[in-house]
Each structure stands twice: as C-alpha cells, then as structure tokens.
Symmetry: C2
C-alpha cells in the first residue's frame, strides 16, 4: 500500500504522471521517517523541515501536521506495520507542468508516502572513502533534502566498488561536509564537532538529536568547520541519520580511526540515543488523532 | 501520444512507477531534440551523448540508433507532427528499485519519449542575471544532462522574479560556466570564446555546431576558461541550445553588452547556423528506416 495524493492504493496500481516535474526535473523534496514499534519518531521535526523546504521552493504543501500524522499512521495500519519498526518516505513534488524550467502558475503538487518494514539498525563499523565530488555549499539544495541525489548515488557507488561502505563529501572549500545519506561527527580532545549548516550540509534531524543529547549530558559539542586534517586525526568518527542512527566509522581511505576500533564516545552516544527515543512523539498523541478521525 | 518502454500510448494512460529511481532520486538522464519540418536535427550526436552518459552511470540503454530513430519518427507521425517543427524529449532512468542509493543488481531502465509542437525560434534579446549558485565542476554531472535540474530551476526562477530572462552560473572557481539551459559564448577582439568542458559545462550539441561553423568560416574560436571580467567586457554574448539556437544576450546584471544591441557577429552566426541546418540527418535516411520497417 502507498499513499498518493489523498488516496491509499496498492503500489502496483499507484502511478506517477509522465509529466510530473519530480520525475522530469527533480523538482521536489522528501523526508525519510523512522518508526519504532509503530511510534513515528520526531514527526514534528520532519514536518517543520519539509514545510520550510517547500516554502523556500514555493511548492505548496497544504497538509496540516495532524493530517500528515493521520496519513502516516493509516498507511502503517494498512501496510500491516502498525506496531512494527519501519521506515517511511514522504515525497513532495511540484506536480505536473508543461515543458521548461519555470514552474507553472497553478501548481498541483504530488504527495506520496511509502512505508517499509525496517528492522533494528545493526552497526557494522564503516570504512569510508573521501569522494572526488565536492558538496556544493553555494547551492541552497545543500541544505535541503531535495530529489537531486545523483551525485550521491555516483559517489556512493564509487565507494562501494572500491570496497567501502560509504563516502564523505568535502565542500568546495575542501572542508568536511557529510556522507551520501548522513551527517558526520568527529570526536576530538576538545569535544564533539559536526560541520556548520553553512558548510553545505542537510540540517539532519538525528544530527539535532545528537547535539541535544550531548548538551543534556554535559558533553562538549560544537557546530564548526572541520578541516580534512581534523577528520583524519580525529579520535572517533561517526555518521548520523534516521535509519543508521549513530554509525561508527573506523577507517577513512587507508587511514584507520581509533586503531580501527569503535570508540567509547560513539558507543556511549549510541546508548544515550537509544534511551532518547522516548523523546519521540508519544502514542497518546496519535491515539488522539485516531479519536479525532472516529468522532 | 508518448513512447514509453516500447509502447506508443496516450499520455493520460502512460504512467511512471512510484518506485522509479528517476522519480525518487533523479537517477537518470535526458536529451532535448529539435525537429525542423519533420527532420530530426543531429540525432547521432544526441544518441552518442546519451550512450556515453548512460555508460558512465551504468544505466543500460539497449536501443540501437536505428531503433531510436524509428521510435522518434513513429512518435512524430502518431502525434500529427510528421512534417512540423517540434521538440522531443528522451528520458532514460535506471527504472524501479528498492529503497536506498545503491542501484539494484538487475536494472530495467525506463525509456520515455515525448514530442511537442515547437514553432520557429524567436530571438527577443536576453537580459541575464549572474546566479549566486555555483556550477559544481567537481561533479561529473556538470558534464551530463542528468535529471538533477533543481539548482537550475531555482536560479532561473530567481532571475525571472527580478525581471531577467535567464541566469549565468559561474563555477566554484568563479569562472563562467553556462546558463540554466544553455551554453554560453562571448565575442572578444581575439575571437569567439566558450568555456572548456572542464569548467563544468554540458558538451552542448548546438555548442559543437557553432564551433564547427566558426572553424569552417575562418572565424577564430577558442574553448578556454572565461573570467567574469572577460564576460562583462565582452563585445557580444550569446547562449546556445537546441531550442533557442543562438540567443543574443544584451545585458548582464546592470551591465549592458554592446550598448544593449544585438551584435553583428551574433547575427551572422544566427544566419550561418540556420543555413547549417542542412547538415542535419537527411530525410533519405529516415525514409530508409521506414522502408526497413515496412519490408
């Protein structure tokens, strides 16, 4: 089952128009949402980020938070994922349009939601390769989860072909940016550091959670520019995203990090992160939503 | 009518799968093809460029040149565009796939062709704006007509909102790259100059034609890096692409080019370009193709 423009339909029957600008010109955005035992994690963060990106791109997104919450939960239910661990993807495009780059005056956006069973994250430590492709921090898209993912696909595939699990993008200044699907953190003597948004990164939701966890636990954490040399001499390195959560990195190109072992700080943050999942939207609120629907 | 994966169908009936990687991740490429009075212009150039890009991205494209030629002509015929001026778009994506960036092992690409009536190009001189977004010459995509067009949409829209007809991208070195849908040329005392492919530009087919026309007519032409100062002090500036052909630029930001008039060299090249259309594939070859089909 998928959700498409207000309807819940079988994926086989659901189709995208051939002149959807998301398909023709990557004119759209998406969110990847994590669900733990049927509880949607940090939906308001996803909603706010999506809204902000849609506003910037001038793509109307008219669903209220409650409408989106209801759609997601209904889809989980219809997909037999009601109490399961799942990942969901919400895709918003500018919808169909005539030939050419300029958007049509009247926009009828496409909203699609898909849900997949996604078992508990297993953290095989990563060996990663620094990509020759630079993250373009001059583009607003470097801060937006847009449909433009082909650079990431190429870089990830090149890493995969050389036996690496992921890649790291530097930005055009040569500063550390992110992975192909993840934010990056390094652990140094001075504290934990993650690149600034201005360095050309997505404002990751898991990234925010990790920063908050650090602050709440008196772990020094900084958003600041990371040089390549800082990265290669870091005591520990890890990626974050909704699905991989906190993912240890033990090798960058040929350079071992922490002698090739998962670091203590990374392990501690993984534990704190798991405990933090209680911060997610509670089931109460969604029961409330369902009640609203029934009455 | 459109062509989709071997079938000619009504656009209303033709649909794209919801898990097509072209839709989800901009994992695909396209070509925009010009047709003059039913004659497809420079199809072999388009075919070769598409093949090269598909090979680089490892997207299988199995149509032979003759099969593609036949499909395009059949679509023109079925769309009542047989002897008309038209533009066609060929889109090739990696097809459907499971969640995640890495392509599936078995790829079943999507091939879509659409055709539009496209009347003779009218050349209202352009006022253009230099975009704050940089062209990322570190990415192989800067040389590939991929589906990643959202940067171009944003920049073009920003230009439009400020009353400009187009934008110009500089690359991350600050050197002149291209427009949102076009290559760029400048006319100087030393000759005609267009950026090198390495500066982060698409190897445009119209760009190649213009270079060839210059060479054949003893007009000095160079592929070399263009500084912003070169651009702003150029005697003439023009864009090229398949649809706008040779498009005069008379203003960049607040700076007039050639006192705001279309330049002589630009006008001469427009005439030579129009005459050069006879170089396109002849009708003979396509009659031959149709004969092959009938016998």
């Amino acid at each position: 089952m998928i959700y498409l423009n207000g309807n819940f339909i079988d994926q086989d029957e659901a189709k995208i128009e051939t002149n959807d600008r998301g398909f023709l010109l990557s004119d759209g955005i998406f969110e990847t949402i994590r669900v733990y035992s049927g509880v949607i994690s940090r939906l308001s963060d996803h909603y706010n980020r999506l809204k902000k990106s849609a506003d910037f791109l001038n793509i109307p997104f008219v669903m209220s938070f409650n409408e989106l919450n209801l759609a997601l939960h209904t889809l989980l239910e219809k997909s037999d994922l009601k109490d399961k661990d799942a990942s969901m993807r919400l895709t918003l495009t500018r919808g169909t349009g005539p030939r050419g780059l300029l958007p049509p005056e009247k926009v009828n956006p496409t909203v699609m939601i898909t849900a997949f069973f996604f078992p508990e994250t297993v953290h095989k430590p990563y060996k990663v390769m620094i990509s020759q492709i630079k993250r373009n921090e001059s583009s607003p898209l470097s801060n937006i989860k847009s449909l433009c993912y082909l650079d990431n696909i190429i870089a990830r595939k090149q890493a995969d072909e050389k036996g690496f699990n992921e890649c790291i993008f530097l930005n055009t200044q040569g500063h550390v940016a992110c992975g192909s699907v993840a934010n990056i953190f390094i652990v140094t003597d001075k504290g934990i550091v993650t690149p600034r948004i201005e360095d050309g990164i997505l404002p990751g939701i898991t990234r925010s959670v990790v920063i908050k966890i650090c602050e709440e636990n008196n772990i020094r954490v900084f958003e600041q520019t990371i040089l390549l040399s800082d990265l290669l001499t870091a005591k520990e390195v890890f990626f974050t995203n909704r699905l991989i959560e906190i993912q240890p990195v033990i090798q960058i190109n040929e350079q071992l990090i922490n002698d090739g072992n998962i670091g203590q700080m990374t392990t501690m943050l993984q534990t704190l992160y798991r405990n933090n999942l209680a911060y997610s939207e509670s089931k109460d609120s969604l029961d409330e939503i369902f009640n609203l629907k029934c009455h």
